[in-house]
Symmetry: C2
Subunit: 231 residues, 2 copies
């Protein structure tokens, strides 16, 4: 009983000895020194995942986009980035030493093709056609490597989350994906969330709960699947 | 001496009896439920201006874009908005009862012409041309009204600040403009700032200082000019 109580209060140490890399938050793609394209990620889900991985005994590296959040206690290393290209580079470098990568960041898919060094002036009476190009895909880059960490992705969608998430799991060769309906008080900019986990041959619904609670449940399943496929 | 000490500690009450409307922060223009175009304004300069106006005895209404700042003590009313169109509507409504309007918000000049109700899916291998249209101009709208508040604008620029600010003062029919070089540790996202004030027939440099200190100096000059032209 004492052992159970200790396990419950200190975490199960199910990731002891493993290096977990977590990305969190949005990315901002600069248009000029003042304007940017961003997204509504607060970073709270990813930071909760990093905290839960620490609780489970992992050595945690956290790569964070522009957020205003304190580093969870026990995180071994935090790297702050702004753009998707910076996050791509930071994740790929850190992934070399990682056993598990959990991509909880909302990485911008597109960036302005021409970034102006000066603030762009308004052209009165004229519309503006902003040309955007695709950003590098972090999970796809990792998945293409011969030896890569156990890969966990997130799919945050407003519609058709389940089918999109399962397609992304297969298409990018992930080990697990956490699907996440955004909107209606859930997900981005909200304190609660709800996830459905998918992996090859399985699925699990994690009903609406606080982000820290969901992060603990996610980490428990990640540890279970990691042991099933990598041990 | 006691009177001077009290004035110094409680402010000079030079705006007593006046209603001051302040806008602050960025605006975010949604592309879809997840992505938006934003700008780097933290809102701290505008919030400091609102606090300084309270100290000077004014009744203050503060209209704030998406920021994570507490309302300064003594502000009579705070209205939170997200987009430039929302800020335009909120300012025009509140301006009807205001003696002075200080536009410290960094209002987005452009918004996506088509806002998607669903998260836009990435189209692999294809660039994206995002069509943007001009937003309504808050200061120009106020200036065009027969009876309007004393108008104070801001010009935050990376280059040619002085000439741009003086042109904006004339073009928009403002009573005063605060020019603000951004970058190099000043302005947006920084705790210090430096301003140059311009009005019809005058100019004043306010050297680098904290935003609260600059806000007090700005408010003193606004009160002076307001009395000169409106009393």
């Amino acid at each position: 009983e004492l052992r159970d109580a200790l396990l419950a209060s200190f975490g199960s140490r199910e990731l002891a000895g493993l290096h977990v890399l977590v990305s969190a938050g949005p990315t901002y793609e600069d248009i000029d020194p003042v304007r940017f394209i961003g997204n509504r990620s607060s970073g709270r889900m990813g930071f909760a995942v990093a905290a839960a991985a620490v609780q489970a005994g992992a050595t945690v590296t956290l790569i964070a986009g522009p957020v205003s959040l304190d580093t969870p206690v026990g995180v071994a290393r935090r790297i702050d980035v702004r753009s998707a290209a910076q996050m791509h580079a930071a994740v790929l470098e850190a992934a070399a030493g990682a056993d598990i990568y959990i991509g909880a960041a909302a990485v911008g898919d597109y960036r302005p093709l021409n970034v102006s060094a000066q603030k762009l002036k308004k052209q009165h009476g004229a519309d503006w056609s902003l040309q955007l190009g695709e950003n590098p895909d972090i999970l796809a880059s990792l998945s293409a490597q011969t030896a890569h960490p156990f890969l966990v992705g997130f799919a945050a969608e407003t519609h058709d989350v389940a089918s999109y998430a399962q397609d992304k799991l297969r298409r990018k060769g992930l080990d697990m994906i956490a699907a996440n309906q955004v909107g209606e008080g859930l997900g981005f900019e909200a304190s609660d969330n709800a996830l459905t986990l998918y992996w090859d041959g399985g699925a699990l619904e994690l009903p609406r709960a606080s982000k820290p609670e969901l992060a603990r449940q996610l980490i428990a399943r990640v540890a279970e699947r990691y042991r099933a496929v990598r041990s």
